[in-house]
Amino acid sequence: MDPLFEMQDVEKHFGTVIALGGVNFSVSEGECHCLLGDNGAGKSTLIKTMSGVHAPTSGRLLMRGQEVRFEDPRQAISQGIATVYQDLAMIPLMSVSRNFFMGNEPIKRRFGFNLFDHERADKVTMDEMRKMGINLRGPHQAVGTLSGGERQTVAIARAVYFGAKVLILDEPTSALGVRQTANVLATVDRVRKNGIAVVFITHNVRHALAVGDRFTVLNRGKTLGTANKGEITPEELQDLMAGGQELVELESSLGGTV
């Protein structure tokens, strides 16, 4: 299948620091592509480059084979690239309904004013939450009362509802308990089956193997290569992430793509 979104030889420099030094990466519709890397590998920079926060220093971003350039996150969102950040997905003090429609508030016109259509927002929120398996007390429940896993799920549901084609998840399972992690992974699986391309960023090999179709390891700002599901063992992924001391030995198992 042709990739929906692709990065070719993307580099990002901050002054004299080379944060990304050659990233090759692609994701197709209905695929969950896991991007693994240890702390400091360049994951955050990569996410921000994909979502339009940073413009790449060199290299190309392709959407359906067409080169795209994002000046700001809004342009990336309008192209269908949505990012769910680990800590910054939701605003705890605001209600689920207000969070869900933040920046995309439904409007009804009354007496010449554009009013926030709370009725519609509340109804859609409850429906979407039920689909995701979250039972709310009501649409006005504050996000702060939800668990970390539920917050991630709400954020994913929001991105999908507003037309995400490529969904970038930034460490959605870190800092979550076992049960919550399982819920989030189930959500990722459901979203993928709806034909959305998922980029799953994590440093947890087990979580990656649970839902991933392909795996790419990022180390010191470079992608070390991509492996398909079943072609690589957790131990091998772990070693690659840890710095690739056994890189030579692993080259064969990665199918010569390094």
Partner: protein, 369 residues
């Protein structure tokens, strides 16, 4: 929601706890307590006669006008400590334009409003561009504006109070919108019915003691309704909450956070300007010391009204009730014959209690331990 979808893991919460997370609750309770208290303590003092009511509602309305601006700004996550100086500055500008420069009063008022909202925008712009806390930036403007407010009249007229605005404003259409009274015929009628006392001697003998509702009170009510409407019923209101709740998360969701914050700084300056114009029209003069400490009084009213100092949560109705409590207690202690310096003690205690309550409520909402 319907009971069929109820998750057994969701604990039922008591109606009390549910009510507690409404930001207005504390101030509603406070308002009831304050009225009961003075109802017992000062009922015979004339506090609840038409004149007494007019007295404390005018004072409360003054607090309300600046509290609305401070409330929306605080919910958007910022402070404005230059409100008091802005009041002094705006009043002085109106007096200089209309008395010293002899401009028509309506032009003086319009130019002052433009100037002050522009200064509010400058406040906001500096905060956004430098990333400094608004506390520091507006503290600087507290001194800058107060300095100019004292400097200009001394330079021009060699004094710190400029009078004669009443004469200049006589018959001016815009001035009457700030300094006039509304509903005079109704009050004459009420006096004829014997519901309102009339003056028994003096130049105004036969006229009702309360002869109309000051425009100031209507401005206060109008601004409260406007602020509450914008905050709760519009898309922009959602952006205000989002900008204060977590500006980075809001930015990622596509909310124009910088624009929201700058607009709220401008609105805060606008409210200060409304206050100043009403005051100048009422007194007929502008003084260099007008508006002293008003920034703190506005913030206190907003905090009593249930808003969080950290932003993202609050209510305009709550802030208005906070201002009402403020006004009723200040004037009520006077009616009750209590030493007025004790008002400050009371205020400090009330502020502390409100902040502690708000922090507790924040924990309930966000589920923090």
């Amino acid at each position: 929601m319907s009971d069929s979808t109820q998750d057994e893991r969701i604990k039922n919460i008591s109606p009390l706890r549910q009510a507690l997370v409404r930001p207005e609750l504390g101030s509603i309770a406070g308002t009831i307590i304050v009225f009961l208290f003075f109802g017992f303590l000062a009922f015979d003092s004339g506090m609840f006669s038409p004149r007494g009511v007019l007295n404390w509602s005018t004072v409360s309305a003054q607090f309300m006008i600046i509290a609305v601006g401070a409330c929306l700004l605080m919910i958007a996550g910022e402070f404005d400590l230059s409100v008091g100086s802005m009041i002094g500055f705006a009043g002085m500008m109106i007096a200089i334009f209309s008395v010293t420069l002899q401009w028509p009063v309506w032009i003086s008022i319009c130019v002052t409003f433009v100037l002050c909202t522009a200064l509010g925008a400058l406040n906001g712009y500096i905060v956004i561009r430098t990333g400094l806390p608004s506390f520091i930036v507006t503290l600087a403007f507290l001194f800058i504006l107060r300095g100019f407010t004292i400097f200009f009249p001394q330079l021009i007229e060699r004094k710190t109070i400029i009078g004669g605005v009443s004469d200049a404003a006589d018959g001016d259409w815009l001035a009457s919108l700030f300094g006039g009274k509304v509903g005079e015929p109704v009050f004459v009628w009420l006096a004829d019915l014997g519901l309102i006392d009339v003056f028994e001697r003096g130049s105004r003998a036969g006229q009702p003691v309360v002869d109309g509702i000051p425009a100031l009170i209507l401005w206060a009510i109008g601004l409260v309704i406007f602020g509450h409407f914008v905050l709760t019923r519009t898309r922009f209101g959602n952006w205000i909450f989002a900008s204060g709740g977590d500006s980075q998360a809001a930015r990622y969701a596509g909310v124009p956070v910088n624009r929201v914050k700058i607009l709220m700084f401008m609105f805060s300056a606008f409210c200060a300007c409304v206050f100043a114009t009403c005051q100048v029209m009422e007194f007929g003069s502008a003084g260099a010391d007008r508006g002293l400490l008003k920034e703190f009084e506005a913030i206190i009213a907003v905090v009593i009204g249930g808003a969080l100092l950290t932003g993202g949560y609050g209510s305009v109705i709550g802030a208005a009730l906070g201002a009402l409590i403020f006004g009723v207690v200040q004037q009520g202690l006077f009616f009750a014959g209590v030493e007025s310096s004790l008002f400050r003690v009371f205020l400090g205690v009330l502020l502390l209690a409100a902040v502690i309550l708000n922090t507790y409520i924040r924990r309930i909402i966000t589920g923090e331990k």
